[in-house]
Amino acid sequence: MNRLSISNLRVSIAEQEIIRGLSLAVPKGEVHAIMGPNGSGKSTLAKVLAGHPDYKVTMGEVLMDGEDILGLAPDERARKGLFLAFQYPSEIPGVTIANFLRAAVQARLPEGEELEATDYYARLYEKMDLLEMDRSFTSRSVNEGFSGGEKKRNEILQLAMLEPKYAVLDETDSGLDIDALKVVANGVNSMRGPNRGILVITHYQRLLDYIVPDHVHVMVQGRIVRSGGKELALELEEKGYEGYDEVKDEVSEPAMV
């Protein structure tokens, strides 16, 4: 029940199958990492979980705390507690971070309840301090003219503000220098806890030095081909993804956790 569970998922876009029978479960209280080469379908998985309309799920199911979410609109999934930190976050011209997050937090309140502005700003500033973000960020338009690193930090700020049950972080480390990486990892680590499951997607093991996962899965060509503990990340770092191409053909049953 208390998990984000994906079973036997198959996903296509433009007649091409990208996710090809993938199963994975992230229980609350755990951090899982998916590693895999470019083009293996990691972002596709992330976006399908979030309900992106372009992708077609041809088989399988995704349960969040036992509830099938594949039939829900993206915003419904989000309000039920699913968060995606995007690999490429969109820019929203003219909408400030403060107003955007405020609308997002407000959307989670019961109907008729108004968000208290002072509480909101207190919390916003607290999270910004944690992520070492300048206060002036609140009045900048969402992601507009942000550097790669600023965008990623902004994603984690939103994660911290929205406190989801399950968070999927897609390549949150890309575009970050080592100092920024530590700050962002610190932010993510502060979100770890018994009531939250986190799925970290990356193709470098670097991030996993700072966000140490409980489990690591290797994804190649739309399938999980191997799962293990955190030491698997180090092994991949050393040996790369070579050899997994052959493995994939041997895997008839998708790897289960």
Partner: protein, 469 residues
């Protein structure tokens, strides 16, 4: 029962309700000389006004529909099917208590009496052809400010009225200004004496309640030397299946050093043809500023203008047009520089939704003999769907030395990725759309008075909610 609505509260059907008609004066259907005599009789027009109307009627007949440059959709207006005058009396009340119940309920539902109490210096409320309520705060009246209906203005203040009436916009300016000149009724007449700065806005609210109807209000505002005024108008109509026509003429005069700001937030239903002529004259060191927000209607054609007649005069048009599915907002601005060192600024933002269409038409004229004039024009269009449409027709004629113009235009589209991103944060598709739209107009809206930016934001939200699934 009728629910009382605060102007800041979301009410899904803002203007879409109607009460049964209780008109005692009805000019019937169609337009002939008899219609004009009927209107003149009811209104007890002085002879010069009756004459003015009859001449205007001839001009109206002689002018072609501007279909050669504007929308062919104008052909859908059947002048013979329209009712040109409807009222339950010609005398506006000074107290809301005295306004007939059904009419009062209409305005209460639109939040007008409440806004008057909160932040206005005076209100006029027009229901079909006549103002039913007109009141100015005592303190403002005592400063010598005149704020009455156009009929009262021409009767009781002919020395000011006649001097400017029809001078800023001549009868023959276009077919619809001629039509208005023939059958005008209602609208405001305002005079602000020299040096008087009216702190709070005066507001007029125009409400169409009847089907097949034409509303032709006529507004004339004169700000005497060094005075200041903000005037706001709101407009709504219920949604009928037949075409309704709104064709106003608004003339503004800002004498030396005066500042006049005219704000429109209209929220017409999708059956209204809104064909309005608005122009101001700015004398030396004076400023005329139009803030024009066009939401709704089937077709709006409106190009507020400023003639900068005196040295260092300034003209400004800030406009937002929201073209919903099947609607056409054909809007823009006219800036006529007629003296040295005059400056004009046009910022136009349009949003097209579904099959909505937004057209910008601009005219900036700086003749050869003038020196040191400046114009800045910015038009930005936002397309919500791939079927949405926008066109820009800027006409800029600048000659002479030391005159400068700057023109920028952009077209952007709300992307599916943007909407998905916002939905992933928990916003519904409609909320995401309206946030994008609000973001798009944000820098402009920030320049509007507070009360109106709140109202506008709310109308955009309603419009987006209605346009998404």
């Amino acid at each position: 029962m009728v629910k009382e609505v605060s102007p800041l509260e979301i009410e899904r059907n803002v203007g879409n309700f109607a009460y049964p008609e209780t008109h005692t004066h009805d000019a019937g259907v169609g337009l002939t000389e008899k219609t004009i005599h009927y209107i003149s009789d009811i209104k007890e027009d002085p002879d010069w006004v009756r004459e003015f109307r009859l001449n205007a009627y001839k001009t109206f007949l002689s002018k072609p529909m501007p279909t050669h440059w504007a929308s062919k959709d104008l052909e859908a207006i059947v002048f013979d099917n329209i009712r040109y005058y409807l009222s339950a009396g010609t005398q506006p009340k000074r107290n809301w208590e005295d306004v007939p119940d059904d009419v009062k309920r209409t305005f209460e539902r639109l939040g007008i009496p409440e806004q008057e109490r909160k932040f206005l210096a005076g209100v006029e409320a027009q229901f079909d052809s006549e103002a039913v309520y007109s009141n100015i705060k005592k303190a403002v009246g005592e400063q010598g400010v005149i704020f009455v209906g156009s009929a009262e203005g021409l009767k009781n203040h002919p020395e000011i009225f006649r001097k400017w009436f029809g001078k800023v916009i001549p009868t023959g300016d276009n077919k619809f200004s001629a039509l208005n000149s023939a059958v005008f009724s209602g609208g405001s007449f305002i005079y602000v004496p020299p040096g008087v700065k009216v702190k709070h806005p005066l507001q007029a609210y125009f409400r169409i309640n009847a089907e097949n109807f034409g509303q032709f209000e006529r507004t004339l505002i004169i700000c005497d030397e060094g005075s200041e005024l903000t005037y706001m108008e709101g407009c709504t109509a219920p949604k009928f299946n037949t075409a309704t026509l709104h064709s106003a003429v608004v003339e503004l005069v800002a004498l030396k050093g005066a500042k006049l700001q005219y704000i429109t937030v209209q929220n017409w239903s999708a059956n209204v043809f809104n064909l309005v002529t608005k122009r101001g004259i700015a004398h030396e060191d004076a400023e005329v500023k139009w803030i024009d927000c066009n939401i709704g209607s089937r077709l709006t054609m409106k190009y507020p203008g400023v003639i900068m007649k005196g040295r260092r005069a300034r003209g400004e048009v800030l406009s937002i047009a929201l073209a919903g599915d099947g609607q056409h907002q054909d809007t823009g601005a006219k800036m006529v520089h007629a003296a040295d060192e005059t400056t004009s600024n046009i910022i136009s933002k349009s949003i097209s939704i579904g099959k909505g269409r937004a057209t910008y038409r601009g005219l900036v004229h700086i003749p050869k003999h003038l020196k040191n004039c400046k114009n800045n024009t910015e038009c930005d269009a936002l397309l919500i769907n791939s079927t949405s449409r926008t066109d820009t027709y800027p006409a800029i004629t600048v000659r002479g030395t030391g005159n400068s113009v700057q023109h920028e235009a952009s077209v952007s589209q709300v992307s599916a990725e943007q909407i998905f991103y916002m939905q992933q944060r928990g916003l519904t598709e409609a909320q995401a759309m309206s946030l994008s739209v609000n973001g798009f107009v944000n820098d402009l809206v920030r320049q509007f008075p507070m009360e109106y930016s709140v109202e506008l934001k709310r109308l955009i939200e309603l419009e987006m909610e209605g346009s998404v699934g």
